[in-house]
Symmetry: C2
Subunit: 406 residues, 2 copies
């Protein structure tokens, strides 16, 4: 008998039909003798529909009220799943975030879980019930409803698993695991049976989209074994866990692609301390994340600076950059949204020098021009022209023999 914390995303509970499938799966787990907690997202497009409704009230959407509004989506799907289970003669109860004891800070719309009071969760499990928890939400110190930001249901599930010391956290989604590359681009991409927290974290932040980065950080911090698997079939998924044997680590475990990328270049920026800071501070103030930064070699005490941001932020970023360019007396700037990022990830890179060189070589062989490079201990990312992206992913997948990974 194990204690399992499961999570079902919006696609998995998008209709009553799908909610019934989820219920059957939970009932099966329960009947096999497990204690079961299920964290659910809002049904399908509910959250987006509520946001559209809110936008009709005006442009000023206070996060506190948005959280009040959006948190109803998960409350509804949780109640519907509990009703479905009860109608299958399976004892179940739904809990909101605050009823499940999920306490957070008061940063509305992007709150962080501070503590979980597991009293109620444990009491309901002890009654033999399947406990359904509305994901994505918590309660602030002053008793207001908070949400944890997009994808926050993953974090809810991992945090509950950590707090209850669950045996495993099962994240059911619309893909059946973590692949060596996007199978739509690389048909021979393979599903990984296991991946380390660190690798998963890189994959998540590079746009693999299977798990939210924060939930992976949480899992790593508390050592929660997380399995990613499909809610639409019974294939084995991918286990995200601590990989202890460094010797056995793969050099490269996956190729990630990310089109949500735009690039700025600032020309003739005076080489004065604090100048770069001005640009990035101005962008940060507008909540625009800067990803890669390159400063070219100095020429007459002036530099060229290039950086990338998320393409979604481009429209908001242009006036900010325009203003700063004037302030710092740079000679001008340009931007492009037809670039993309291709990355290789692998924990074994740390002990295998030359991986980056192999990557550049493979891209060069195909005449793919690299605009920018950024590296960490376990990944190398290159910004290239978007039109070359799919070719690049395929070339790298082949170069590192990911079709043969076990």
């Amino acid at each position: 008998m194990a204690l399992l914390v499961t999570k079902f995303g919006g696609t998995s509970v998008a209709s009553l039909e799908r909610i019934k499938n989820v219920a059957l799966r939970l009932k099966d787990m329960k009947e096999k003798g497990n204690d079961v907690v299920a964290v659910v997202s809002a049904m399908g497009d509910t959250t987006d529909e509520l946001i559209d409704l809110a936008k009709l009230t005006g442009d000023n959407l206070a996060p506190r009220e948005m959280d009040m509004l959006l948190s109803t989506g998960e409350q509804q799907s949780a109640a519907l799943l509990a009703l479905t289970l009860q109608n299958m003669n399976c004892d179940a109860i739904s809990l909101t975030g605050w009823q499940a004891g999920i306490k957070s800070d008061d940063k509305h719309s992007k709150a962080k879980i501070s503590e979980i009071n597991t009293e109620r969760l444990r009491a309901e499990l002890a009654k033999g019930r399947i406990v359904i928890v509305a994901g994505f939400q918590g309660i602030s110190p002053c008793g207001d409803i908070t949400t944890l930001g997009r994808g926050g249901s993953d974090t809810t599930a991992v945090a509950i698993a950590a707090a209850l010391k669950a045996d495993r956290c099962l994240i059911f989604t619309d893909v059946d695991g973590v692949y060596t590359a996007d199978p739509r681009i690389v048909p021979e991409a393979r599903k990984l049976s296991q991946i380390s927290y660190e690798e998963m974290l890189e994959m998540a932040s590079l746009g693999a989209g299977v798990l939210q980065s924060r939930s992976v950080e949480f899992a790593m911090l508390y050592g929660v074994d997380v399995e990613v698997l499909s809610s639409f079939n019974f294939n084995p998924g991918t286990l995200v866990t601590e990989v202890k044997n460094m010797e056995k680590q793969r050099v490269v475990c996956g190729v990630a692609d990310d089109r949500n990328c735009a690039r700025f270049a600032l020309f003739d920026v005076p080489d004065v301390p604090g100048i770069a800071m001005k640009i990035f501070k101005a962008l940060a103030k507008e909540n625009i994340n800067v990803d890669m930064v390159i400063q070219s070699a100095m020429r007459d005490n002036r530099n060229d600076i290039a950086f990338t941001i998320e393409r979604d932020d481009l429209k908001r970023a242009v006036p900010v950059v325009q203003k700063v360019v004037k302030e710092i007396s740079a000679s001008g700037f340009s931007y492009a949204d037809d670039v993309a990022k291709v990355s290789i990830v692998g924990a074994g890179m740390q002990t295998n020098p030359g991986v980056a060189a192999d990557m550049f070589e493979a891209l060069a062989e195909e005449n793919i021009n690299i605009h920018m490079i950024s590296t960490s201990e376990i990944k190398v990312s290159c910004v290239i022209d978007e039109k070359e992206l799919e070719k690049a992913v395929r070339v790298l997948h082949k170069k590192f023999e990911l079709d043969k990974i076990e």
Copy 2:
């Protein structure tokens, strides 16, 4: 400066357009220097839509989970109203039932308010905010969300008005007050400027449909002045209050009509103590309310018994009555759903004998046959053929000169 508790029903907040009108009205009250609380129902048909969704899960709809599901409707409209006010530069905050301190018993789907902890309400009002409260809901002693039953938002508003010792409770609805009769039946029906709690209570329970009976009881108990008025125009409404001067009381203040009526007759019921009880206990067990009861003169130690129920319950009642008739060895039964109830209401009846006789006479003059009669201190009800209902309402409205009421 006054403290006003307002309530807006589902029709009044059915669209963002209407929510904007509500916001304008609240803003106006606030700018006139009042402290303002607004209790809201769910938007339009939200509650019915959620019920339909729940029905897809099966027939077993546990009230605890239904409350979890349905309470989201009011939470959404409360948040949307707060956002709308904020977008009009008017400080506002939305609160769920539990955030507003509304404590109830644990009778899910028909919970009763046990206490209101006004701490948060007072704190938010003190900040100069318009406080929006999700109606129809509370929290049980164990921390579960409860609902107060259909129309419970009226009760929420009156209870908050009582707890805050508000100057007035304003119930905005889709009619602009309480009329001497349904204006669709009697074009010359007049709007009452004032009505006593007792009269309003009778009118409400006789199907006038303007205020929920329980909210009127609450208002009477705590002496809350309640004004019923339209959210679609600025006409003066009807004040429900304590009418102290008995001399000034109208003999009859209104004629109520109710088609939600069905009649049973049981033949040759043995005249043994406890027999009638058996019938009514069996119906009560199925949650079917019996309204009027008549027992005819005894004949050979056997009686005929007739009673009425709500027509909506007829289908469920027939098999129950069938079974009891057999058990108590009555000779048979009949039922009819083509009957209706016409009533006159007026606090002055208590001191004016002969009102009932006037009513019977007026109906007789028009050849309207009376099947059953029931009286209380301030009302007389007659069951008649449904096809005669509108004529009866008009005749009685004229007889008691209600078109001349001030």
